[in-house]
């Protein structure tokens, strides 16, 4: 835990901030910033940096081994470099997902009726950070690596469904955006009363729609294997991805729900301080 605290707050900083011998004047300047006080900005940035490193690694891997070992699915090189990658991605990412989702469930709020507004406010900001992380990997999936798939299939005729572009896009990126999509959904349901009391339709669509792209892959691959061998991007075979991708727009509804929830938290906090000028509440976060 100390290691994680150091990542989030800087080495020894949490300890020094909480220590009584430090007055407010002696604290580093950044401890007084909004970013430091609200939400777990550090750990989400750490997650985004890890995803960015995975994305960069995937791009380099495709560049190095795409044409060298990715042209013939019957070759030993293809099995070694590309099928091993698929197995590692599916086992590694889904194992991590199960652990994370179970952690979110078991560490849930046990008294939702009495969550303090200050804590609720902090959790709303954490939820926005979940959504930011989700959109970060959604971009790499639906734009960057999807376009890579287009470039590959214009160039190389497929002889398998596990092409070098698919192996990153479908079996790496999509499980990874499920990490953040389902993770954020669980976080909201288990920690925020407004999301736990009733199921948010917008959030359900925003997570479920893009998640269904993975099973829709079955139809896509079936179509390419038995029906349409050439590559027309705008072919109806691909429209399932399009319609499911539209659901990502429902993030707008989730953000509106967060805005409403934050406004209510502000009002609850302000009712404690009639003069509306007290900043005490932020120091207790």
């Amino acid at each position: 835990m100390a290691f994680i605290d150091n990542i989030i707050h800087g080495k020894g900083l949490k300890k020094s901030v909480n220590s009584e011998k430090y007055s407010n004047d002696k604290l580093p300047w950044y401890t007084k910033t909004t970013v430091f006080k609200y939400g777990n900005f550090g750990i989400f940035m750490f997650g985004i940096i890890v995803v960015a490193a995975l994305v960069a690694g995937a791009r380099i891997y495709q560049g190095l081994y795409g044409f060298e070992h990715g042209l013939d699915s019957m070759s030993q090189g293809f099995q070694d470099y590309w099928m091993t990658l698929v197995k590692a991605e599916l086992i590694g990412i889904f194992s991590f997902n199960v652990v994370l989702w179970l952690y979110l469930w078991y560490s849930r709020e046990r008294d939702m009726d009495n969550v303090k507004p200050e804590v609720e406010l902090k959790r709303y900001i954490n939820l926005v950070l979940w959504i930011l992380s989700y959109t970060f990997i959604v971009y790499w999936t639906t734009s960057y690596f999807a376009y890579a798939d287009g470039a590959w299939h214009q160039t190389v005729l497929r002889d398998t469904s596990f092409t070098p572009s698919h192996n990153i896009l479908f079996y790496g990126c999509i499980p990874l955006y499920l990490t953040f999509g389902v993770g954020g959904f669980l976080y909201a349901m288990t920690r925020l009363p407004s999301f736990g009391r009733a199921i948010s339709i917008a959030y359900t669509f925003a997570v479920l729609g893009p998640a269904l792209i993975l099973p829709n892959l079955g139809f896509n691959e079936w179509g390419h294997a038995y029906w349409m061998t050439e590559e027309i991007f705008s072919h109806p075979l691909h429209w399932g991805f399009v319609v499911l991708g539209w659901n990502a727009l429902a993030i707008g509804g989730v953000l509106m729900q967060i805005v409403i929830g934050m406004s209510k938290s502000f009002k609850k906090i302000n009712s404690k301080f009639a003069d509306n000028s007290n900043s005490e509440f932020t120091e207790n976060l």
């Binding site: 909004t34 609200y38 560049g63 795409g66 709020e109 008294d111 009726d113 900001i125 926005v128 950070l129 959504i131 930011l132 989700y134 959109t135 971009y139 639906t142 734009s143 960057y144 999807a146 376009y147 890579a148 287009g150 470039a151 590959w152 214009q154 160039t155 190389v156 005729l157 288990t190 009363p193 736990g196 009391r197 009733a198 199921i199 339709i201 917008a202 050439e230 590559e231 027309i232 991007f233 705008s234 691909h238 429209w239 399009v242 990502a248 727009l249 993030i251 707008g252 509804g253 953000l255 509106m256 729900q257 934050m262 502000f266 009002k267 302000n270 301080f273 000028s277 900043s279 932020t282």
Partner: protein
């Protein structure tokens, strides 16, 4: 040195004006809460940019991608018809959410900029560097001019129905002219194996796409060529007509997506989630 002079660069940009203080007083936020609201704004802006870059690009790529990607697919019949029809959907939806809730007339332009940004990043990184197609083969369409018009019409008339009836047709009709300057060079006629072709055609013949052979290229297949110079405007007017209704539909879809609605939760699950009552 006065206080305003001693501020940092960002401090000067984001300093609170007297008008801002008045607004905060009315809505009942103190300074720290206003800081939190601004922090929230920055996170949302970053998330929105990434979301529109990804989702809009996926939409265009898989529903009209061929005409958007390749220079030799940018014909006078289908390209001015399909791209405006396909690309007006997201701007309409995003305009709805941004305008209705925040009175921000930037939704369409934001979509246009996000699309072009994400397309170029992918084009350079993969089409050019990985599969080594030349950039001249992969020139994306630009919809930003039409998007600016949509936002301006919304700002002037302040009603979505006017944007649907005036802005949407303009979006479609300005598409071809606003791309013309960038594409003129590709329409230069050249002789190819004794026949006349455009420069764009020759580029397409020279760099073969294994999975898109020439026989499936969908360009100018009908009799529209007999209209000669006016063919592009026939397509443009048809696109304008369709865009009116698609704008209306997608405005409503945008509103539906940004509305807060909930399903009732089962009592048993509520109990597991920590609700006592």
């Amino acid at each position: 040195m006065s206080k305003s002079e001693s501020r940092s660069f960002f401090g000067k940009i984001f300093r609170m004006r007297s008008e801002d203080r008045e607004i905060l007083k009315i809505v009942g936020l103190n300074k720290e809460q206003a800081g939190l609201a601004r922090y929230f704004d920055f996170l949302v802006v970053a998330a929105a940019f990434l979301l529109f870059c990804g989702a809009f690009h996926l939409h265009v790529m898989l529903s009209a991608g061929d005409w958007d990607m390749f220079i030799d697919w940018k014909d006078r019949q289908y390209w001015p018809l399909i791209i405006p029809i396909d690309t007006i959907m997201f701007p309409a939806a995003v305009q709805a959410a941004f305008w209705y809730y925040f009175r921000l007339p930037i939704g369409a332009t934001l979509c246009g900029v996000c699309l072009l940004t994400s397309v170029w990043i992918g084009t350079y990184s993969y089409w050019h560097l990985w599969t080594m197609f030349p950039i001249v083969l992969n020139v994306p369409s630009i919809i930003i001019a039409g998007c600016i018009l949509l936002d301006v019409i919304l700002l002037i008339f302040r009603r979505w129905i006017f944007v649907a009836c005036i802005g949407a047709p303009l979006f479609a009709l300005t598409f071809y002219p606003s791309n013309m300057a960038a594409l003129t060079g590709y329409y230069v006629p050249v002789e190819h194996l004794g026949s006349m072709a455009s420069m764009a055609d020759v580029i397409g013949y020279t760099f073969p796409r294994s999975a898109t052979p020439e026989y499936i290229r969908i360009i100018e297949t009908g009799t529209l060529r007999t209209f000669e110079g006016t063919s592009v405007w026939v397509s443009g007017v048809f696109a304008a007509f369709v865009c009116i209704f698609l704008y209306m539909l997608w405005w409503q879809i945008g509103m539906a997506f940004s509305t807060v609605k909930t399903w009732s939760q089962s009592p048993k699950l509520k109990k597991y989630l920590g609700f006592k009552g």
